[in-house]
């Protein structure tokens, strides 16, 4: 089969799975629904491998296959095809998405076991994967927007999955609204592309763009900036990042799937996919890189101080995606993609381990309360450590290879990119600190009550179902994991998912060892061969120097964390007191929510209040009561026309039509 | 005229068309009395009696006597009837029956003559279009008579006709898909290897059942159920107007037989030289007509609700399924 056929099959299975599970709600037992969900994604993964083989079987220059199934819309000679575009980049994304998703489905199979909405959950999950695959396989900007919007909706549905929980529905809405802002950017970009180039197919756009645009012409910069709005919103980059931390309201597998491994990387994919445009607009590309640097620093600093376990990981996600944006912004596309892949492995792993611990804590997420889980949950602890090592770029792990490749490339380009490299090194240092802050705070020490209970009884505390954000009690119908809830140590599904990801997080980096193999770069080469950076990359020696310094920074960071949280645990609190303003700035996430509230939400609200209280009451009401007499008398006159008589209306309509026609006839003379 | 016939594959000179139409009309018109006689004889035999045997040798000119009787009767019109419509209704019925004869093929083009009225590309749709018109003949007859029994019969037949037309259309769809054409001539030609009665046996059975309903024959003769409705829509008719209804009914039996023979039994195909083709076609038609008569002698009448639920709940689903399966098979091969 051709690569395109495989591509369509990749899309087909998750959609079928979603529909099947959705429509067979309450007709098939939950276990079957879960199995169908897993099976659908796994089949998609197998088809992804099929596509990989098919693509690799072609000679390098013909590894781009565009396939159109249907004419989606055809207006005045302009057609949009329901078409996909299969090339190494999309195949790479498909493999990452379906691969990680399969594992997360396996994990959810156990994790959501006693949830009331099991069918709904798997239907949503499959739909999400379908949307994401549509996004990466789309063959033109129109279909990309469709996938983009589907992903936004799926994310909304999954974040608000426990719909009785007000914080969850609010978080869902926030994510949705911000995503829609991004959608608007994307739509405007597509419109602008169509206006300037007259086409929306990727291949045609990228072919025409260099002929039409000169470097940094304002149109192409505008297109890229609008694309970036979409990318930033979906990938939680400043200033559109505020939804990501709130999105942790969704079930933990959702956090792992959407907010770590797949959806948030859509922006990175978009920039990589549209790299011919960005290379024509270096200003926009630089902006993307700078925003990436800014986000990774801001998120890193926040992650050091927040205490909610899932939020720490969420901020670290933002920070890691910042790296990817830097990568695609400065032209290190395959490095960015490589980091995207390794990040998917270790971040999904971290979330899974965190979910396991959170369920053992009866849904409490504050790390201040967690202690001694190293003894209580050894398997989870090992997985958590692997994840943290990979995240902080410990030598030999996947994160080490991928993160430092980006930094190398930035310093290789020199100039202001050198500054970015320094920023990223500081970010790496922060990363090491906060990731080991998690480890050192919750694994060692005397077990806390819940952990002790687990050690003693072999199962988790049956806490009251409560909202982790507000602590309020809730009814169980929202889908509280339930009494029978299993923990990773015992549930096979969770164990399998974590073990495989743990393995990948450890060894995934071996695919891309400078000077040794560089599998990813070679594989993605055909997608980026038209890039102006295709032949410029650091030498092997430079790369190894960078890797060395990365290793050093990571070890120093881990040591610092050890110093702060194990050796002298008093330091953090003293620092906190000493630097009170800084700490509160960080704890409050740099007041981004407040700034946005102040700049946008409050003015709008105030305007609304003003309209309601002042304008409405005095101006409108005054006007109305003043004019109501006039209107009433006028209304009386018009009322006779509103006879309710059908034929009367028909006569009026005919009168209008006759009049209009007469007007046109007279005008045409 | 050129515009009208632009897409027909084979058109002769106008005079040939006229001659042909008269010829077909004469043949069928002379077959109808024979069928009438055969029916009465056969029914008699099947019911352990002789049937007509007084007029002519073995009652052979009984139909002529009947026609003579009907012609000589007074054309009576009830007071409550609506004049114009009452008179035009039987004519409409016989018109729609006769006009359908045009598309029945009795043979391929032979010696510059197509042995059929006309070979229209819309083919079988033509048949359905005019059987839609036939409905108005019955309905007007029932309604314009100004009689309860007539009106009830007309309503029944209307509901029955449109219900069974769906199953009928669906059953023929399978054949059309296999042949890849709507034209009856093409469909016959496509049966060179195998008659469609074999692969489309389900469709054939459905078509025959629906055909019984379309022609108001036993066991679906509810519109004229004499025990309940006196004689249905034709209660108030007498003389040759009644004769027209009668003729139209038998002509429709012949037409349904003809369509069935064309669509399923290979039409004019048969052993022997090509001049035998019309004979073969006629033989197949008469064979199926005999089947109609046989069923009349055998089966009791349905109850009305049974008739409706049989049509909607059994025939239409089966016919739809048949279409689906055929479609899949046609695409697959």
């Amino acid at each position: 089969m051709s690569a395109a056929t495989w591509g369509w099959l990749v899309l087909l299975f998750p959609l079928l799975g979603s529909l099947l599970i959705g429509f067979s709600f309450r007709k098939i037992p939950p276990k079957v629904a879960g199995a169908v969900g897993i099976g659908a994604i796994f089949l998609a993964f197998l088809c992804g491998i099929g596509a990989l083989i098919a693509v690799q079987g072609e000679p390098s220059e013909s590894r781009h296959v565009a396939s159109s199934l249907w004419e989606y819309a055809s207006v005045g000679g302009f057609t949009i095809d329901l078409g996909i575009y299969v090339d190494p980049l999309s195949v790479f994304m498909v493999l990452v998405i379906t691969g990680v998703s399969t594992l997360i489905h396996v994990y959810s199979y156990s994790y959501m076991q006693s949830d009331e909405g099991y069918h709904r959950f798997f239907s949503y999950l499959n739909f999400f994967v379908f949307s994401m695959l549509l996004l990466v396989l789309a063959g033109n900007f129109a279909l990309l927007i469709v996938g983009w919007a589907f992903v936004g909706f799926a994310s909304y549905a999954l974040i608000s999955y426990w719909y009785r929980r007000e914080t969850a529905t609010k978080a869902g809405m926030k994510a949705f609204v911000i995503n829609v802002i991004g959608d608007i950017g994307l739509v405007l970009a597509a419109i602008l592309i169509f206006r300037e180039l007259g086409v929306v197919d990727y291949a045609a756009v990228f072919e025409k763009a260099p002929e039409v645009f000169s470097t940094n012409q304002w149109e192409v910069v505008a297109i890229c900036l609008l694309l970036l709005v979409g990318a930033f919103a979906k990938s939680a980059q400043m200033p559109f990042h505020t939804w990501l931390a709130d999105a942790m309201e969704g079930p933990t597998p959702v956090s792992a799937l959407i907010h770590a491994a797949t959806m948030v990387t859509a922006g990175v994919y978009l920039v990589a996919r549209a790299h011919p445009l960005f290379e024509l607009a270096p200003t926009a590309a630089d902006l993307a890189a700078w925003v990436g640097v800014g986000t990774l620093l801001v998120a890193g600093t926040i992650a050091i101080v927040v205490t909610d376990l899932k939020r720490i990981i969420a901020f670290s996600t933002m920070s890691q995606i910042g790296y990817m944006f830097v990568a695609v912004g400065i032209g290190a596309y395959s490095a960015g993609m490589f980091h995207l892949m390794t990040h998917a492995f270790f971040k999904a792993l971290l979330f899974m381990a965190a979910g396991s611990i959170i369920s053992a804590m009866a849904n409490r997420q504050n790390i201040d309360h967690m202690k001694g889980f190293g003894k209580a949950m050894p398997f989870t602890a090992v997985m958590l450590i692997i994840g943290a090592l990979a995240l902080s770029g410990f030598p030999g792990t996947s994160g080490w290879f991928s993160k430092d490749e980006i930094i190398d490339f930035a310093s290789f380009r020199g100039g202001m990119y050198e500054v970015m490299a320094v920023g990223m090194l500081i970010g790496a240092f922060l990363t090491a600190i906060y990731s080991f802050r998690i480890i050192f705070r919750i694994l060692p020490g005397k077990p806390c009550d819940e952990a002790q209970y687990l050690i003693d009884n072999g199962h988790v505390v049956h806490g009251e179902p409560g909202n982790p954000a507000t602590g309020e009690l809730e009814d169980t119908e929202v889908g509280y994991p339930g009494e029978e809830h299993h923990i990773a140590e015992q549930a096979p599904g969770m164990k399998i998912g974590m073990a495989v990801l743990g393995f990948l997080a450890l060894v995934g980096g071996l695919l891309q060892i400078p000077g040794v193999d560089e599998v990813i770069t070679k594989f993605l080469e055909p997608s980026f061969e038209d890039s102006i950076f295709v032949n410029s990359h650091p030498t092997v020696a430079e790369a190894w120097t960078g890797l060395g310094s990365g290793a050093l920074i990571s070890i120093v960071g881990i040591f610092t964390a050890w110093l702060l949280y194990v050796k002298k645990p008093g330091i953090p609190s003293r620092l906190e007191q000493r630097l009170q303003p800084v700490h509160s700035l960080l704890v409050n996430k740099w007041y981004f929510d407040e700034i946005i509230d102040f700049l946008i939400v409050n003015p709008v609200k105030a305007f609304g209040r003003f309209s309601n209280e002042i304008f409405e009451r005095y101006v409108i009401n005054g006007l109305t009561s003043g004019t109501v007499g006039v209107i009433r008398s006028a209304g009386g006159a018009v009322r006779d026309l509103q006879s309710g008589m059908l034929r009367g209306y028909a006569v009026l309509m005919l009168f209008g039509v006759v009049g209009l026609l007469l007007y046109f006839l007279i005008r045409s003379i | 005229m050129t515009a009208l016939l632009a897409d027909t594959t084979f058109v002769e000179a106008t005079w040939i068309l006229v001659v042909k139409s008269i010829l077909i009309f004469i043949v069928i018109l002379s077959v109808v009395p024979v069928v009438l006689l055969v029916e009465r004889k056969l029914l008699g035999r099947m019911q352990q009696r002789y049937g007509p045997n007084r007029v002519g040798p073995y009652g052979s000119i009984q139909p002529l006597a009947d026609v003579g009787k009907l012609l000589s009767k007074q054309s009576f019109r009830p007071k409550a009837a609506i004049p114009f419509l009452y008179e035009i209704a039987p004519a409409l019925t016989i018109f729609s029956a006769v006009i359908t004869l045009a598309i029945l093929p009795f043979g391929d083009v032979q010696g510059g003559w197509g042995l059929y009225g006309i070979d229209v590309p819309i083919g079988i749709l033509y048949f359905f279009a005019f059987s839609s018109i036939a409905f108005y003949g019955l309905l007007l007859g029932g309604w314009a008579s100004g009689s309860k029994y007539s009106f009830l019969g007309a309503m029944r037949s209307a509901a029955q006709l449109i219900s069974y037309e769906i199953a009928m259309g669906l059953s023929l769809l399978g054949v059309v898909m296999m042949a890849g054409s709507l034209s009856l001539v093409d469909i016959v030609k496509a049966q060179g290897e195998i008659w469609y009665v074999v692969p489309q046996i389900v469709a054939f059975l459905i078509f025959m059942v629906a055909g019984f309903a379309e022609t108001n024959r036993v066991p679906f003769d509810l519109p004229e159920a004499d025990a309940e409705l006196v004689a249905g829509y034709q209660t108030e008719y007498g003389g040759m107007r009644f004769g027209s209804y009668m003729f139209a009914e038998y002509m429709e039996v012949l037409i349904v037989s003809g369509i069935a023979a064309t669509m399923f039994l290979g039409g004019w195909m048969g052993p022997g030289p090509s001049w035998l083709d019309p004979i073969w076609m006629l033989a197949k038609m008469l064979l199926l007509t005999g089947f109609f008569i046989w069923i009349r002698a055998t089966l009791p009448r349905f109850r009305y609700d049974q008739l409706m639920s049989f049509g909607w709940k059994i025939l239409i689903p089966i016919a739809t399924l048949n279409v689906l399966v055929t479609a899949v098979l046609v695409v697959a091969t």
């Binding site: 006879s643 309710g644 008589m645 | -």
Partner: protein, 99 residues
């Protein structure tokens, strides 16, 4: 036949239908007049289709046919419902929308 004949015929039929909508009060007849207007539209569509030698117009007529069938089904459903409730079958008596 010249195309404009068909178009003028279509306009005439449309006008007759519209007149019927205006002067008749029985909802069944009004629906019939709507059918007239629709078929006039179909005729125009076919004439244009013939004029341009493009069969898209014919497909459009088929779609109009379906839409007309839907309209009839719903419209007559309303008529039957009115009859069941013993409402007068006169559009002038349906004045719920009176201002």
């Amino acid at each position: 036949m010249d195309i404009e004949w068909y178009l003028v015929l279509s306009a005439l039929l449309f006008t007759i239908g519209f007149t019927g909508v205006l002067i008749r009060r029985n909802p069944v007849v009004i629906l019939l007049c709507l059918e007239l207007m629709l078929s006039a539209g179909a005729l125009a569509m076919l004439a244009f289709s013939r004029m341009l030698g493009d069969q898209d117009g014919q497909v459009m007529v088929l779609i109009v046919l379906v839409v007309a069938a839907c309209e009839v089904v719903v419209g007559l459903g309303i008529v039957v419902a009115m009859f069941r409730r013993r409402l007068p079958l006169d559009v002038d008596d349906m004045k719920e929308l009176k201002g």
